[in-house]
């Protein structure tokens, strides 16, 4: 059998070749079908090879060194269990998105702006996970950012998209810059850029702390940690929907991979305050993300904000894991890490599913604004069922998969009183509360998303005349929905699959789950806690089946159709239904005045005046105002002040260069 690394790299090469093919053929008719078809096949192959690698822990993790990149380093590639797990996440999302693209891509107005970049983007994400030295990691990271950026700008004539692309580019550059510094610090003065060299070298606590913070900035800006999340709700929705799914569902996970790789693997033993820091940032991210999502009326922006929430949940678990690891509680650290990785997998599945659903709605109606949707459940039966499954899964409701991973996170929270540090002991219950709050708000958010877009009466003629989407799109959504259900009812299987990963990173793993009676999930002991998604599903199915049978057999089964009653209050137009804004108004009143400084202004005309009354709501994004606006302002100010430098004579320029050179030489002289 071929070396698994080589196999994965061949898949990457094939994806890159497909990208070149996409350039060559992009204007011909069959290109869409060809590119997405080939990308699906390659992603499935890469997925299978990664799965084989993860399920076969004895296979070797040899490093493959290719004579590329910097001549004195070469490009190192390695496929260990952590990489294998993330390769599964990447290629599962990639395969689903490619399959979806087979149908969705046909409606693309500018295929030549998407087709070449789509396989290249997939290749970039694969490469980040495979690379095993700082240079190829950063190069692949930038490649991934730039290819996705190109697709954000696929519809570049829309001013909003241009702005999104600009903000994304600035944030991506900033993130890579932080990563560059982090790897520079990790490599040390001798420049050991290979991960093996980094792993074996020692660092002072000061350097480790700096690396952690730089990683939170670098990987965090790509993942969407607050306050570095501002680009995400702009850029993710701007791309075509299957690319949005990849960016939200998969690329953020690659960022999580980068964080885990450096902080859990390369950096060595963490300090306890690292756990506290990650926990705090994760909690704030989770709650702010979902609150922002609740305020949205654009369905794709809502989904993008919800990605921020889920990244927050992942980082809460990662923070817990760091805290346990720092205190030598390996089993607990493994539990928290499994919760994080499980949620990574889950989120990649249901967020892709939901973005596909949003894309289907966009194809069918041309609308992203939920206030122009409604009643789609009658016109898009398959999409509405599958989107509902995604909504239930992301709202962390049993028996679907979102609940299983959050349940594990709660179990990890409940071990934490054994932590010795006071600060952690105070922070962990608060983080648990924030986790619970974000789960409850997520349910509210997805009741809103589903209720406004799919239920009720159509709010526009586009929603009234929508038709179901093509079978490729439905198939892609159906596969993800089935996987969500499967991971929800057999969480033990996922936990067992993750065991080698935690074993490698923590030196400990959760107890084997597939041997527990009835396939329940038992993180520590049966008497302590257990959950069985399969039985819960069976119970619900059996009792609802019983109820349906009993009622229809022994009671009435007659149905009469009539106009809606609504307390006999006639509702003339669909505009009288609840809208996205009115649905979240109670929550906006409860949380929004503090978090978004939401203000409602009612303009009520005097009696006898015939102009309409108006309600205006204003909200502000605090992180934008407090951080980005001042920085942007400062940059503009400095640029204005330095503008004169553009018009100097050659003599002046030379003297400036000379003065600078002397100054720098003096600095170096004093430094030495």
């Amino acid at each position: 059998m071929t070396d698994p690394v080589a196999l994965s790299l061949w898949c990457v090469a094939a994806l890159l070749a497909t990208a070149v093919l996409g350039v060559a053929l992009s204007r011909s008719g069959a290109a869409t079908r060809l590119v997405y078809g080939v990308a699906t096949a390659i992603s499935v192959a890469a997925l299978l090879s990664a799965a084989v690698r993860l399920l076969n822990p004895l296979s070797d993790t040899a490093t493959l060194i290719l004579p590329l990149g910097l001549p004195w380093i070469g490009a190192h590639f390695r496929l260990d269990v952590l990489s294998a797990f993330f390769l599964i996440v990447v290629n599962l999302g990639g395969a689903a998105a490619s399959l979806y693209g087979l149908g969705y891509g046909r409606h693309e107005s500018a295929p030549h702006r998407v087709l070449p970049f789509f396989p290249a983007f997939l290749a970039g994400m694969n490469l980040v996970v495979l690379s095993s030295d700082a240079f190829s990691f950063l190069l692949s990271w930038e490649f991934m950012s730039l290819t996705s950026w190109a697709m954000v700008l696929a519809h570049h004539r829309d001013a909003q998209n241009t702005r999104a692309g600009y903000v994304y580019l600035v944030m991506a550059t900033f993130g890579t810059f932080a990563l560059l510094l982090a790897f520079g610090l990790l490599a040390g003065p001798n420049g050991g850029y290979a991960f093996d060299a980094i792993r074996s070298s020692a660092r002072t606590p000061m350097v480790s702390a700096l690396v952690l913070i730089l990683m939170l900035l670098g990987a965090g800006s790509k993942a969407g940690l607050v306050p570095l999340h501002v680009w995400l709700p702009l850029a993710h929705p701007a791309a075509p929907s299957h690319v949005s799914a990849l960016m939200s569902g998969v690329m953020t996970k690659v960022a999580v991979y980068g964080f885990i790789r450096v902080v859990f693997d390369l950096l060595g033993e963490p300090a306890w305050w690292a756990g506290l820091l990650v926990l705090a940032i994760g909690s704030i991210t989770a709650v702010l993300g979902i609150l922002s999502a609740l305020m949205e009326k654009d369905i794709k922006r809502l989904l993008a904000y919800s990605t921020i929430e889920n990244i927050g949940i992942v980082f809460i678990s990662l923070g817990l894991s760091l805290a346990f690891k720092a205190n030598g509680m390996a089993a607990a650290a493994a539990l928290a890490l499994v919760a994080a990785l499980f949620h990574v997998l889950n989120h990649s599945m249901f967020k892709s599913l939901l973005f596909f659903g949003a894309g289907a709605v966009l194809t069918a109606t041309g609308e992203r604004d939920m206030d122009k949707l409604g009643g789609l459940i009658h016109r898009m039966p398959a999409t509405s069922v599958l989107f509902l499954i995604g909504c239930v899964a992301i709202s962390a409701l049993p028996p679907l998969n979102g609940f299983a991973s959050e349940w594990l996170a709660f179990q990890a929270v409940l071990i934490s009183p054994d932590l010795p540090q006071w600060a952690l002991r105070l922070a962990v219950p608060a983080a648990g509360g924030m986790l619970a709050l974000s789960a409850a708000l997520a349910a509210a958010c997805f009741v809103k998303a589903y209720g406004i877009s799919f239920l009720g009466r159509p709010r526009s003629s586009a929603a009234e005349t929508a038709v179901e989407v093509d079978r490729y799109s439905v198939a892609a959504m159906a596969i993800l929905a089935a996987l969500c259900l499967l991971a929800g009812i057999l969480p033990g299987g996922v936990v067992d699959t993750l065991a080698p990963v935690t074993q490698a990173l923590m030196g400990s793993s959760m107890p084997v789950q597939l041997h527990t009676p009835w396939l329940s999930l038992v993180p520590i002991a049966q008497s302590r806690s257990s959950y069985n998604g399969l039985l819960v599903l069976v119970f619900i199915a059996a009792s609802s089946g019983f109820a349906v049978y009993f009622i229809h057999r022994f009671a009435s089964r007659i149905i009469r159709r009539a106009a809606a009653w609504a307390c006999a209050f006639p509702e003339f137009t669909p505009a009288m239904q609840y809208s996205a804004g009115s649905f979240s108004q109670p929550i906006r009143r409860v949380f929004g005045t503090l978090v978004f400084r939401a203000k409602e202004k009612v303009d009520m005309p005097a009696p006898g005046d015939v102009r309409p009354a108006r309600l205006t709501v204003s909200m502000s994004d605090l992180s934008w105002e407090a951080i980005y606006a001042p920085i942007g302002g400062a940059v503009m100010l400095v640029a204005d002040r330095l503008n004169f430098l553009q018009f100097l004579t050659i003599r002046r320029y030379l003297s400036v260069v000379f003065v600078l050179l002397v100054t720098l030489l003096l600095v170096v002289a004093v430094w030495r």
């Binding site: 049993p398 179990q411 409850a440 806690s529 257990s530 039985l535 159709r561 809606a564």
Partner: protein, 318 residues
């Protein structure tokens, strides 16, 4: 053989909660009426109501979807499963471990999720107002409930209800501040979750104040029967939960024989009676609050839960 006996006891529990739920609702209504110097309907009236509703035709709004028709059964089934997983007369039943306390809360959350969706299906503003307010209340009640669960789970070292109630019945527990806080918080959450006064009024159809009733406004016939039944089951669920956590005495253990089970059932009936009386007394004594007061009420429950948990985390080292 033992398996069959275990299954029978589990089946008894499922049948028991199903049979007792309407009676509990009737009991609360009866006691409330007596407290208001009314005679009130018989305690068996809810059964009659359910039968009457089941026999009636369903009048469905023109644009109601399959979700609207499936939701009542799903909500009923989910609530029933959740209620049967709570130890009522015995702990350690056959399937008691298939969902711990966190999962039971989440099951109740699933039922609410579908109810809120069903409220929006027909597309009337009443359904919308109900759903929108329900999710607002739930977004505070659920985290409060989970923090209370944390408090109990940390005290007993388990989220498994059977283990927690066994711990609460043992001598280890003593008098603890955080458990007291959890009790008060849990009662507040239970009032909100069951749409009782002061959060919501189960007896009203005055549109400006209603939450639960607004969501089910478009339902009729057997669908409404299912939802009413689910509401009764939910009330029973919360009273059983409070009973098994805070007054766990009289619960039979897994290996006990039929006589202890009989005693367990008798004690459970007594607990339900007391619970119904206390609820009726409380509801009669207090006025409903306006909707935007509810967040403060729920915020208090949330803070009680958080304080209880924090106290436990902090006191661990002392």
């Amino acid at each position: 053989m033992e398996m069959i006996a275990d299954l029978a006891v589990q089946g008894l529990q499922m049948a028991l909660v199903l049979l007792l739920a309407p009676l509990l609702t009737g009991l609360v209504r009866k006691i409330k009426s007596r407290l208001m110097r009314r005679r009130g309907a018989s305690v068996f009236q809810p059964y009659r109501d359910l039968l009457r509703l089941m026999r009636k035709d369903v009048v469905l709004a023109d644009n109601a979807s399959w979700l609207f028709r499936a939701a009542p059964y799903l909500i009923f089934a989910t609530t029933w499963v959740a209620a049967s997983l709570i130890p009522t007369f015995a702990t350690g039943l056959l399937f008691a471990w298939s969902a711990d306390l966190i999962a039971i809360i989440a099951l109740v959350g699933s039922a609410r999720f579908f109810l809120a969706l069903a409220g929006m299906d027909v597309g009337t503003s009443f359904g919308g107002i109900g759903s929108s307010r329900e999710v607002m209340i739930a977004s505070l009640a659920e985290p409060a409930m989970l923090l209370i669960v944390f408090t109990l789970a940390l005290t007993a070292g388990s989220t498994q209800l059977s283990t927690v109630s066994a711990f609460m019945a043992s001598d280890h527990i003593g008098l603890r501040v955080s458990v007291g806080m959890a009790l008060v918080g849990l009662i507040m959450v239970a009032l909100a979750e069951n749409s009782r006064i002061p959060v919501d009024n189960p007896a009203t159809h005055l549109e400006l104040t209603m939450v639960h009733e607004a969501m089910v406004l478009e339902y009729s016939g057997r669908h409404l029967a299912m939802l009413e039944f689910a509401a009764s089951l939910k009330l029973l669920l919360y009273i059983s939960l409070i009973a098994c956590l805070f007054v766990p005495w009289g619960l039979a253990a897994a290996e006990d024989g039929p006589t202890t089970y009989a005693v367990g059932i008798a004690v459970y009936l007594l607990k339900l009676l007391v619970g119904a009386a206390l609820l009726a007394l409380f509801e009669t004594a207090i006025a409903k609050m306006r909707v935007f007061r509810v967040p403060q009420f729920m915020g208090a429950a949330l803070m009680l839960g958080l304080l209880g948990t924090l106290l436990l985390f902090v006191s661990r080292s002392i």
